[in-house]
Symmetry: C2
Subunit: 142 residues, 2 copies
DNA sequence: CAAATATGCTTGACATATCAACTATTGCTC
DNA sequence: GAGCAATAGTTGATATGTCAAGCATATTTG
């Protein structure tokens, strides 16, 4: 339960930094994923899989981000079922700004922890996630 | 970011256990808070403060829980502005069942960690939350 | 190669969360 | 004790997330 409450607090803190830029935490994550995908782009559902969200949400999320001019969609000739999403220059410059402010905002919360403590924290969290990947049905079924 | 993803995974895992009982994670937390308040009950906004949610959400959340027969509302004569919420016997028996199944479901995820590691995890998470309580405006303003 | 199935995504109906404005009651001030 | 501000909670409009079903394209199978 402490884990959930702590995540809420952190989520809130980050949202506070994102809000003046007009995007949500989920949109921020989509931008980072798409930046990682470079020129190639990424199919819509692949984005949904990396976030912990389902398909319909993603479609409309990308709708809004396309309306904001942050991303672009393209239907490739190879497989005309899928829709490749690309990050636009506007999205890249927005991310560039946030790359400094978001970590700054979160670092405040971790100030009370030593480097070693943070390392241990990360290891523990990774262990929890991999336990879920191994045993939970919920993440496989999507 | 790992913290947020890990919390999502845990949230999902718990929701999976709660779903057959027809309640959400937030409703589960409300029930636990109200059980802690005993006979006295708790004003609506006090519940909202303990969760990380705002007033309007709470009102309608309690509406739904009242419709389910899990809680009861009462307007005390002392201060007729506030509305005291109480847990009903139906809510108590539901919680009694979940008191075993929810921890069981989450323990699976922590199986890879030693007792000492879990202790350190809890200490670190507490430190993050108290850093926020001290410095973040977001939690004070509500 | 026609029919059946699977994949990728979208749409509509509905539940839920969020923001701003409102009502009712209380406490404070002159 | 009349008027004003503070508190507790609700309501309405809007954004967002979620479930079930649908459409188009691709793949498999007889």
């Amino acid at each position: 339960m402490g884990l959930l409450r702590t995540a809420d607090v952190l989520r809130w803190r980050i949202a506070e930094v994102l809000e003046p830029e007009g995007i949500t935490l989920v949109q921020f994550n989509v931008l980072r994923i798409l930046r990682g995908a470079k020129e190639t782009g990424l199919p819509t559902l692949e984005i949904g899989a990396r976030l912990v969200e389902q398909s319909p949400g993603i479609t409309r999320l990308i709708d809004r981000m396309e309306a904001l001019g942050l991303v672009r969609r393209e239907r490739p000739r190879a497989d005309r079922r899928q829709v490749l999403c690309h990050i636009e220059s506007k999205g890249l410059s927005l991310l560039a700004r946030l790359d400094t402010t978001v970590p700054q905002a979160s670092e405040v919360l971790f100030a009370g922890l030593s480097g070693a403590e943070i390392d241990r924290l990360i290891v523990s969290l990774d262990a929890i996630r991999s336990a879920c990947a191994a045993r939970c049905s919920s993440l496989r079924k999507q």
